[in-house]
Symmetry: C2
C-alpha cells in the first residue's frame, strides 16, 4: 500500500477552489508538500488564508491553460482547475473549454516529464442528462455537445480522453475521478450552486429559488467524505506496470468495465433527494421562514443524477459517512459565520 509519504510533493491546480483548498489542507495534514496553482478566476485567496503559513505549502498564481512550470521534484499532479458551477461556466465558456483541454494537457505533460502520478478531477456532468440511474462508470452519458452547458461537459469528457491517451501512449500512472455534487464550507455564496444558494437565501430571509417544480433529484456529498475518497484514489497503487499501460494490445481489448484504478471512478453520495426536500432541510437547519420561489429550469438541466459508487466501495473500501442532513447543518454554521462577518453590526 502506498502512503502519502510516497507522494512527498504534490502539484494541485485549482487549489484555491472549494474542493481544491480542502484537498490542499488534507494533503498537508498527511505530510505532503503542496504546490497550489490557481489563477483566482473562480478560486479565492481567502480559501488559502489558513494554509499560507504552513510549512510545505507554496502558492503559485498562474493559469494552467497558459502553461504549468514547477521547479523541483513532483510526485503527483492533481488537475482541479476549472470553473465548476453552471453560473461560472456559462459566463466563462471559452476559459472552461481551454482549462479542460490546454489545462489538462499541460498538467499531463508535467506528470509525464517528472514521472509523476496524475489525477484528473472529472465530473458527473460527463453523464449529461442520464438515461440510466444511478450511473455506473460504464455508462457513456447523454450530453448535448452544442448546448450552452455543453462547454463544461465536453471540456471534461475531452480531459478524460486526453488523460487516457497519456496513460495508453506515454504510460503515465493516471486516475480519473468523476465527482458528483459536493457541498460544504468554502462554497461560494454567489455561484448559484443549489445548497449554498438555498442556505444563503434562507439565512438572509430571502425566498428560496427552486428551478422547475423542484421534483428533479440530486445527490449531494459532504466535502469531508469527498476528500477522503479523492485521497484514497490518489494513494491507491497502480495495478498495471508501465509496460502494461503502454501495451496497446492489452489496453485496446480491455473492456471499459475493467476494474482498474486507471479507469474512471465515481465519487459521490448516493442518498437522493428532490430539490424541494433539500430546500426543506435548509429551512429546518436555518430555522428560516423563507418562502419558495419557482423559476424556469435552465436548458438541459439534468432531471436525475445519482452515483453508483459500488466500484469505489469495492476498490477502495470508501463510502460516504456524513448524512446529508448533518452536512447541511455544518454548512449552515459556516455560512452563518461568513455572513455575520460580512454584514457590519
Amino acid at each position: 500500500m502506498v502512503s502519502a509519504a510516497d507522494l512527498r510533493r504534490v502539484v494541485l491546480t485549482g487549489g484555491a477552489g472549494f474542493l481544491g483548498s480542502h484537498l490542499c489542507e488534507r494533503l498537508l495534514d498527511q505530510g505532503c508538500e503542496v504546490v497550489c496553482v490557481d489563477n483566482l478566476l473562480t478560486g479565492r485567496r481567502e480559501n488559502l488564508a489558513p494554509l499560507l503559513d504552513r510549512p510545505g505549502f507554496a502558492f503559485i498564481e498562474g493559469d494552467v491553460s497558459e502553461g504549468l512550470e514547477v521547479d523541483g521534484a513532483v510526485d503527483a499532479v492533481l488537475h482541479f482547475a476549472s470553473p465548476a458551477s453552471p453560473r461560472d461556466y456559462l459566463e466563462l465558456p471559452i476559459h472552461t473549454l481551454r482549462v479542460g483541454a490546454y489545462g489538462t494537457h499541460n498538467a499531463l505533460e508535467l506528470a509525464r516529464a517528472r514521472g509523476a502520478r496524475f489525477l484528473l478531477a472529472s465530473t458527473s456532468e460527463v453523464y449529461g442528462d442520464p438515461l440510466v440511474s444511478p450511473q455506473p462508470e460504464t455508462y457513456w452519458g447523454n450530453v448535448n455537445p452544442i448546448s450552452p452547458r455543453g462547454v463544461y461537459d465536453e471540456a471534461k469528457r475531452f480531459g478524460e480522453a486526453m488523460t487516457m491517451a497519456y496513460h495508453r501512449y506515454h504510460g503515465v500512472d493516471t486516475r480519473i475521478v468523476r465527482i458528483f455534487n459536493t457541498f460544504g464550507p468554502r462554497m461560494r455564496s454567489d455561484d448559484g450552486r443549489l445548497v449554498s444558494n438555498l442556505i444563503v437565501q434562507a439565512l438572509r430571509g430571502e425566498p428560496l429559488t427552486v428551478h422547475g417544480d423542484g421534483t428533479q433529484t440530486r445527490s449531494f456529498c459532504y466535502v469531508d467524505d469527498m476528500i477522503d475518497g479523492l485521497v484514497a484514489v490518489l494513494l491507491h497503487p497502480s495495478d498495471r506496470t508501465p509496460a502494461q499501460r503502454m501495451d496497446r494490445a492489452f489496453l485496446h481489448t480491455s473492456s471499459e468495465a475493467d476494474d482498474s484504478i486507471h479507469h474512471p471512478i465515481n465519487l459521490g453520495n448516493p442518498e437522493e433527494y428532490s430539490v424541494l426536500e433539500i430546500a426543506r432541510m435548509v429551512l429546518e437547519a436555518t430555522a428560516s421562514a423563507s418562502p419558495t420561489r419557482f423559476v424556469a429550469r435552465p436548458v438541459d438541466d439534468p432531471r436525475v443524477r445519482r452515483p453508483d459508487v459500488s466500484r469505489a466501495a469495492r476498490l477502495l473500501g470508501w463510502r460516504p459517512t456524513v448524512p446529508v442532513r448533518e452536512g447541511v447543518r455544518r454548512t449552515v454554521a459556516y455560512f452563518r459565520t461568513l455572513l455575520a462577518a460580512d454584514v457590519p453590526g
Copy 2:
C-alpha cells in the same frame, strides 16, 4: 443568396487531405482564392499537385495546433485538419486531440479577428455507437469518452462545443457540418478505411478484410456529393444578425432542434449497405476473385451509422445524387491508375 464571390479568400486547414483537397479545387473553380494550410501529417502533397500552379492558390506547410497566421483579408476559415481514419487517430491520439481543441480554437480565433465566416468539419463519429438510426442532428450521441477511439469522437465534440461558444460569445458566423463516411479518389490506399481498403485488396488480388461478420451497416457518400453539400453550407447566408448571435437570452432558450444554419448539419448518403454488400460491389467493379477474410471487430466499432439528411435537404435543397455503386466504379478507376503507376512494368 451569397455566392462564392462574397467569400473571395478562404483559409482551409487540412487542405492536403482527401476532402480538403477536393474542397480546395472546388473553391478555386468557383473563383475563390484559397490558402491551404496543412502539416502533411496525414495529408499528402500529391493531392495538391494539380493545384499548385493555379492562380489564387497558396499552400502553407504548418500545424494549425501550433498557431494559424495568415496575412491579408480572410473571408472564411474552414477547419478540416485532423487525422480522420481510425488507423490514423489510434496511432496519433494526442495529435488528434490537439487539433480538435487547439486547432479549432486557433482557426476560430482567426475567423473572429478577421470577421470571417467559420466552418467546422465535424463528423458522424460525434454520434458514437448510436442508439437511434438514422441519426438526426438532435441526437446527442452515444460515445465512450475513455475508449481508444474516443480520442477522435471527443476531439470533434469538443470542437463543436468550442465553435458554438465562439458563436454565442463572440458572435462569429459559424457552421458545423457532421460529415458521414465519404469515399472517392484521393483516399489513401493505406489508412484502413473500408472502401479504399477493399478496393486496393481486390485490385491486388488479396483477400478482402471484413471486421466481425460483416452485417454491421455503413452509409457511404461519394465525394462529389459531399463537396456540393459543404459548399452549400458555406455559402448559405446567416439567419441571425451578429447581435442575435450574441444575445444570450435568445440563444440559451433556443432549442437544439432549431433549424438555424448555425446548428450542426448532417451531410452523407443515407443509402445503407452492410459491409458484406460493399465488399460484393467492390468485387463486381474490380472483376476480382479475392476471397473474404473475417477478422475481429475493433473496440467500440459502431454497429450502425446512417445520416438523417432531411435538414440539409430542407435548408439547402441538397441531396446526394451519385449512387454508391457508381461511386465505387469511379473510385476503382482512380485506384487502378494509382496502383498501375506504383508498380513498375
